[in-house]
Amino acid sequence: MTDTAMTRREWLAGTVQRRGSVVVLALVVVISSFAFDSFATVDNARNIAMQASFVSIVALGMTFVILSGGIDLSVGSVYALGGVLAALGVQQGSLIGLLLPIAVCGGIGLLNGVLVAYGRLAPFIVTLATLLGARGLLLAITNEGANTRVMPKTAVLTQIGQGTLLGVGYPVWIAIVLFVIGVFVLQRTRFGHSVLAIGGSAEAAKLMGLPVARRTMWLYTASGLLAGLAGALAAAYSASGVTIVGVGLELDAIAAVVIGGTLLTGGAGTVGGTAAGVLLLCVIQNVINQIGTLSSYYQSVVSGAFLAIVVAIQAYLSRAHLGRSRG
């Protein structure tokens, strides 16, 4: 795609693709602020941000995996495992409470990565297996889910989960820092560019001499690691390692990434879009709670409909895009 071929329409299509989620998010926020008195309050914003922080850390790892043309279904189980491990490890000290989930969940991600990159197995199925496996591991260390370990209030890790800085909880800050790093890695580093190249065409990337297998392996490792970290933070926030969390979280994360304008086929997308996607899903949930008379079941109906509309528009735009560049 050369600059001269960039017509106005293509520019529009590309912009809607990349920035659409931000625009819709802004619209929803503005409308909701006028419609509901209790929406545009500091407390509510704090709530939404806290809710979004855990999912967004998971979705960040997912963004990179999807950008490379893969998918990671295991993050929901790994998230739950991370929380349980944090509650287990924190009994021996906060450092262990933080390192144990990161190490184990990173290990599961590494296993995914090795099987996908070097075993050349389909990511969908490999991570489906680790979805089951991680949940099995979780049940094994919690006496089949019967034990919920409580984290001591005084532990540093619990403080990280519950404490605030400038009125905003630490998990939110951590998520923001991670996203800034994510944007930097994707846009400014060789690693980020090679991820996009792999997602565009793994074959071409390999022919160009990129270490495709190694990069892919680290992507899945990072995804598992981030999911574990998010789980540990969520456990610290609620001061307990709850065993039943995280079911279906992978789908929320994928939905957020796709709504954020990242193509599931890989090769195109942004980290910022994912942040907007996560926030959008959280805001929709919040608004439906605000309406009050609507049952909360509508939340998933709206999210699902929203996802369908977004991907339909995406498909239409990218086809318009392709048709142009071919003609």
Partner: protein, 369 residues
């Protein structure tokens, strides 16, 4: 990877002369076609070999055999193990229990096998099951037939929705059906108002619990559906078109096949089968519970299909393999439970089996590519 490996002493290859033709689920034989064989021979027979070795057909390599028949072998081994070591395994009651428990997964997996055959995947089956379960009690007041019809229609509409997104809008199957997975269960909960509703319709309850000549009705239903889907894949134009579209979509389109219609029909069938699975699950449970029915059913169905040897890359549908895959996973968890092993062990074993199954697929793809 040479031809000779098929004759290594450790792995004698039983080779019934017409096994090739009798392999049940290779309808259009995307990669078993005669044209595939000469290709491989070109690759593999370049160094001249003793004449006796040529009798082994190239595509009957161990990995290929393991992929095609491994699921049956594993199933037989597991049954034998249980016959010897598990008390009361061979009782009619136990066999019926195992079969009844697997029916909803099996019915959903049949539709999933078709969708995976088109190189797609249908994540929405669990939610469609819940939706059908939620629709049933709403219309049971008008009689059983209208209620069943509405539930099936709901499933068909869900399939039409996914199918349209996939075939017409050109959206990736994972996302298209993900939207319905998220939205479908919400819709089910909205219809049912989040409530569990007891089923009082006697006929429906009888379908869930009665037996015909000692075989539970739901098992008969599953068997009939299996035969129907098997027939559809092997002997109908639609079945051939489905496999062709899954094998190579653009070639099928160039050959003048109605690709969009085939894709949409496939998703509609998957939706209807998922609705049937939901109805069966409801009848078994004697209650409509849209928050529990079909939970994670999509993963169980995908597992059954993949373990059964249907490649995720499409172009091949193994109906009997899918049945064996579903039975194998059911029997594994039953065996582990009988031996007092916890759920965690069951999950870990399932994970390992999925990886092994997909690894075997890979070696096949690697070999033929």
């Amino acid at each position: 990877m040479t031809d000779g490996t098929t004759e290594t002493p450790g792995r004698p290859i039983p080779e019934p002369p017409d096994a090739h033709q009798e392999a049940v689920d290779h309808p259009a034989g995307a990669d078993q076609t005669p044209s595939g064989a000469p290709n491989q021979r070109d690759h593999e027979d370049q160094p001249p070999e003793p004449p006796g070795r040529h009798r082994v057909q190239p595509n009957r390599r161990p990995s290929r055999l393991l992929q095609d028949y491994g699921v049956y072998a594993a199933l037989i081994l597991l049954v034998l193990y249980n016959l010897v070591f598990t008390e009361n395994f061979a009782s009619v009651t136990n066999l019926n229990t195992q079969l009844v428990q697997v029916t909803p997964t099996l019915i959903a997996a049949l539709g999933m096998a078709l969708v995976i055959g088109t190189e797609g995947v249908d994540l929405s089956v669990g939610s469609v099951m819940a939706l059908a379960a939620a629709l049933l009690p709403l219309y049971l007041g008008y009689g059983l037939a209208p209620a069943l019809l509405i539930a099936l229609l709901g499933g068909a509409l869900c399939g039409l929705f996914s199918g349209t997104l996939v075939a017409v809008a050109g959206i990736q199957p994972i996302v298209a059906t993900l939207a319905l997975l998220v939205g479908g269960r919400g819709l089910a909960l909205v219809f049912a108002d989040g409530q569990l509703k007891d089923i009082r319709n006697q006929t429906l309850l009888q379908i869930g619990s009665d037996k015909i000549v000692g075989i539970p009705i739901v098992v008969v239903i599953a068997a009939v559906l299996t035969l129907a889907v098997g027939f559809l894949v092997r002997y109908t134009t639609f079945g051939r078109q489905l496999v062709a579209v899954g094998g190579n979509r653009s070639a099928s389109a160039l050959a003048g096949l109605p690709v969009k219609r085939v894709l949409m029909t496939t998703y509609v069938i998957s939706g209807i089968l998922a609705a049937l699975a939901g109805i069966v699950a409801t009848a078994r449970l004697t209650a409509s519970d849209p928050s529990a029915i079909g939970q994670l059913a999509e993963l169980a169905a995908i597992t059954a299909v993949v373990v059964g040897g249907t490649p995720l890359s499409g172009g091949r549908v193994r109906v009997l393999g899918t049945v064996a895959g579903a039975l194998l996973m059911q029997l594994i968890s039953a065996t582990l439970i009988k031996n007092n092993l916890p759920t965690s062990a069951s999950l870990l074993v399932q994970a390992a089996i999925i990886v092994v199954a997909v690894f075997l697929q890979r070696s096949r793809q690697g070999g033929t590519a």
